[in-house]
Each structure stands twice: as C-alpha cells, then as structure tokens.
C-alpha cells in the first residue's frame, strides 16, 4: 500500500511542477493553477491511504479540521478585494509556516522515536516556519493598516541578535534535554517574538520583498519537514518554492535597487531625510476640461498607474477612459513599473480585474523608449517610480532605482490626492517641471470627470 501511495505522490509532484511551469506564461497561466490544483487534490486524497494514519478519533479530527479550513480558506479567498491581495497572500503564507512549525513541535515531542539528526532538522524547520508564521501576520497587519507605524526599538538589531542567541540556546537544550518541556515552550515563544521584532521595523514600501521572503522561508520549512517526516513530496514542493521564492525576492529587491539585506537589516525611518530644498519651480494645476482636450486630441497617451490608483479604486474608471480615448483613435498604453503598488505585478492584477487586456500593459524596459514620442503621459497615484531624483540626486534614498522616463513625454498630467510626498518621503521634481500639470483630487472622481469631459468633445 505504501509503495502505491509513494508512486502517486511522485505523479502529483510532477503535475504540480508542470502546473507551476504553466503559471509562468500569461497564455497558459489560468490552466496552470487548475493543473496544480488537481495534483494537490490527488496528493491530499491519497494521504488518507497512508498506513500510519489510524484511529477513528484521529481520522475524524483530520476531516473536521479540513472541512473547517476549507470553509475559512474558501470564504476569505472569495471575499478579499483585489487591492488587499498582497496581505491575503501574506496571511495564507503565514498559515503554511504555522502548520510547518506545529508539525515540527509534534516531532520534537515524540523525541523517543526520532534520531538526533531528525530532531535537529525539526529544530531548524521550527525556527524557519515559526518566524514565517508570526512575521507574515505582522506583514498582514501592516498592509491592512492594523499597525500604522514603523516601530523601531532602541538598538533594534541588537535586540534581534539577543533573541536569536536565546533561541539557539533553547534549541540546543531541547536536543540535549528533550524531557524538559519548558525549553520547548520558551523556544517557541521566542520564535514568535522574533518574527514580530524582525518584521515590525520594516516600512510598508518594502513589505512585498518581505512577504516574498517569508513565502520562500515557508517553502524551505516545508522541505525540511519533508526530511523529518521522510516524505519526498514535501521535500520536492518545499524546495521548489524555497528556490523560486528566493529568486523572486532578489528580483523584487533589485527592481527597487536595494539589496535584500539592506531592506531587512537597515530599515531607515521614512521621511527622515531627503533633499526637498533642491526642487525648483512650482506645482501648476490644470482644469479637468483642459486635460480632457489634451488627451482626446493626442496621438499617443501612456498611463502610469501607482498605488494611489489602487487606493482610489480607480482602475475601472481608468479603463473606461482608455476605451473612450481609443474610440477617438488615440493609442493608449499602460506603463507598468515592477514595484508600482505593494507587490510586483500588483498593477497588472488590478488592471486585469477592471478588464484591461494584458497586452496593453507594458513593462519598464519596453515602454521607456516610447515616452519621447508620447503626447500625454497620465500619472495616476504613482510617485516614487516616476521621480527623476532617482537619476539625478545621489543623496536621495531612492537614488539608483530604475524609473519610468515620464519626463521625456511632451506633456505630463499628474492625478494626485494632495501635495504630499511619496512612500519614501522624497520630494518629486517631476511635479514641478515646466510641462507637468497637476489634477488634484480623488483618483476615481477625477477620472470620472475626465470621462465626462472627453464624452462632450
């Protein structure tokens, strides 16, 4: 029986990897998740045939937990708004990390049956899984605005180092004196604490990188649990996620021109510095009617969306505006900065939700040469990703980050809620340029007025 189960596991591992592979191409992505879903379902069902799952009580507990978990997962997944997707992924990721950590705890409690190597691995799995668990929950709370501040303790990194040392000491004590449950409890309490203190000083703008890191960590914890439980499918799936997640984390950090370690270990409080005295020129507002004329009679318009569009929920209205413009023969494209929003691809997901075909969404490298022959660039709710200071001011916190070359466009329209600074707290010299005009107000409201104005032309 066990060998049949193992063979089916092998097949499901293959199906899941093929599913992931499909998910990495836009055309096949939709089928990819369904594919992986089937693989997962088969793997779960076949697990009921594993010989050492026994006892009516245990089996009914498994079924009860799965029914309850399905209800919660299904309901929360269906209900969550697209704009809240990043934190929801963080939450689900935390659940996976928590499960890995609970399994490691069970293994450590069964110390009589396990070798020292196995228990050592369980310790490592517990460390990674638990930090991912409590860290992901903090990431969720931050993006959900439940925690509004960046909390930095005095000598924060030293606090983290001290906690880490205490955790390692507890880990060694658990291995040496497995009968002392107190060490195990202290171990887990410190791990939960470290996840919190590790995540809480990191600002919201860097949170995507952190979520991606926790995703990779959960994968790693799952892989290590595979070793502990002698289960190849956990090892395969966990390692694939661990590797791809690590690479994704680096890609995201690179897109922000930061290193992963600078994001994690030297978070500087936002708005503390910045060269705001150096911007010259003034902010020049424009009427909605004039802006509408400018766009309606243009040959080519590029729309640059940012997190502000997501907050204002303006993506549907933007698409309506684009359709109006296209109806008049204007070429319209969207310029997508990799880190616009709170996650790579965040803008794509939001715009796709509104019905924008993905071939209208153009990546940074491809769109940048196009700005010079663009009549109007419409910036909605984006700030740091279009800030020329990233090129020109070496002392700026965002210096070196690749930006969209909106400044090369003939005319720039900026829809902005108020006169505040971007997420990084830096003044934006784009807004004061000669060919830039400001449209102040709520994104959705302004776009709605633009639509009406274009219609009357």
């Amino acid at each position: 029986m066990d060998s049949i189960v193992q063979i089916i596991y092998l097949i499901t591992a293959f199906i899941i990897i093929v599913g992931l592979r499909k998910m990495s191409h836009p055309k096949t992505a939709k089928g990819g998740i369904k594919f992986a879903g089937w693989g997962m379902l088969i793997a779960i069902l076949v697990t009921f045939m594993v010989p050492n799952i026994q006892g009516m009580v245990n089996i009914s507990l498994i079924v009860a937990a799965m029914v309850l978990g399905t209800l919660i997962g299904w309901y929360s997944g269906k209900k969550v708004l697209m704009i809240h997707m990043p934190q929801m992924i963080a939450m689900y990721n935390g659940m996976g990390g928590g499960a890995a950590s609970a399994i490691a705890a069970i293994e450590l409690l069964r110390y009589q049956e396990a070798s020292l190597t196995t228990r050592g691995l369980a310790i490592v799995g517990a460390i990674i899984g638990t930090i991912s668990f409590s860290g992901s929950i903090i990431a969720f709370a931050k993006l959900q605005d439940l925690i509004k501040r960046v909390v930095v303790l005095p000598a924060h990194q030293w606090v983290n180092i001290l906690i880490t040392l205490a955790i390692l000491a507890c880990g060694v004590m658990i291995l040496m004196a497995p009968t002392q449950i107190l060490y195990l409890i202290a171990f887990y309490a410190l791990l939960l604490l470290l996840g919190v203190t590790f995540t809480i000083p990191i600002g919201g703008a860097n949170m995507p990188v952190v979520i991606s890191l926790f995703n990779a960590m959960t994968g790693l914890a799952v892989g290590i649990n595979g070793f502990v439980m002698n289960n190849a499918s956990l090892i395969i799936a966990g390692t694939v996620v661990g590797a791809s997640g690590t690479l994704l984390t680096q890609l995201m950090a690179k897109a922000m021109n930061k290193s992963v370690s600078s994001i994690l270990f030297s978070p500087h409080p936002t708005g503390a510095q910045g060269s705001d005295t150096e911007t010259t020129g003034s902010l020049k507002p424009i009427d909605v009617a004039d802006a509408a004329v400018m766009m309606a009679y243009a040959n080519k318009v590029i729309i640059v969306p940012g997190y502000g569009m997501a907050v204002a929920q303006a993506q549907h209205k933007i698409w309506e505006l684009v359709q109006q413009l296209e109806h008049r023969g204007v070429t319209v494209k969207f310029a997508i900065h990799p880190v616009a929003g709170r996650m790579p691809g965040h803008m794509n997901v939001l715009l796709a939700e509104a019905g924008v075909p993905y071939d209208k969404l153009v990546d940074l490298d491809e769109i940048n040469p196009e700005f010079s022959n663009t009549d109007v660039s419409l910036v909605i709710g984006a700030n740091d990703v279009v800030n020329p200071q990233a090129r020109t001011h070496p002392d700026s916190p965002i210096y070196g980050m690749p930006i969209l070359d909106v400044t090369n466009g003939h005319n720039v329209l900026v829809i902005k809620r108020g006169q505040g600074k971007g997420f990084s707290g830096v003044e934006n010299s784009l807004f004061t340029m000669d060919n830039t005009r400001m449209l102040y107000g709520d994104g959705q409201d302004v776009v709605n007025k633009l639509i009406q104005a274009v219609k009357t032309l």
Binding site: M40, G55, K78, N215
Partner: protein, 98 residues
C-alpha cells in the same frame, strides 16, 4: 548518519532547487504576484505532513497541535488556490476580449 536514502533526498533537493529557479527565471513581471500566490499555494502541501502527523497522534497535546496544523494548512491550500485562480481568471488577451 548519512545513509543512501538521505543522499537520494539531497539529490532531490538539488534538482528541485534548479527547477524552482528555472520556473521563476523566465517569468514576466505581470505574473509575479500570481506566481508568488501560486507558489504560496504549492507549499500548502504541508497539509499532507499535517495529516500524517495528526494521523499518528497518540495523546491530547499531539492531537491539538495536529488539529491546528491540519486546519491552518488547509486554509493555506484552499485560500491560496482560490486567490491565485481569481487573479489568473482576470488575465485575458485582446483577442479573447473581443
């Protein structure tokens, strides 16, 4: 300490790591969020480990921990699947859009 099956598992780790790397390497930016969500779903396979751990539980502590593990692992799997599918559902090209 290092027996044949451990070595076999280490080979698996190596090959799986390359696989994960190759999958992400060629992915366009527009799919980063869905793919992160997709990999998040995939590590939900920890549910299998949770089921086995609970299936072997022989005291109340293990049952409580096992129950929690199965519960939250299921949330990971089901929630991860639902949000990934919802995101990918929205990807349509101009041709199919009409």
């Amino acid at each position: 300490m290092i027996d044949g099956s451990t070595i076999a598992y280490l080979y698996i780790v190596m090959l799986a790591a390359f696989t994960g790397y190759e999958i992400i390497k060629s992915v366009p930016v527009i799919l980063h969020t869905p793919l992160m969500s997709g990999t998040n779903f995939v590590h939900g396979i920890i549910l299998i480990g949770a089921m086995i751990a609970l299936g072997q539980a022989n005291n109340t502590t293990e049952q409580v921990l096992g129950f929690l593990a199965v519960l939250i692992a299921t949330i990971n799997v089901v929630g991860g699947y639902v949000v990934t599918e919802r995101m990918l559902e929205m990807f349509k090209s101009e041709k199919t859009h009409g």
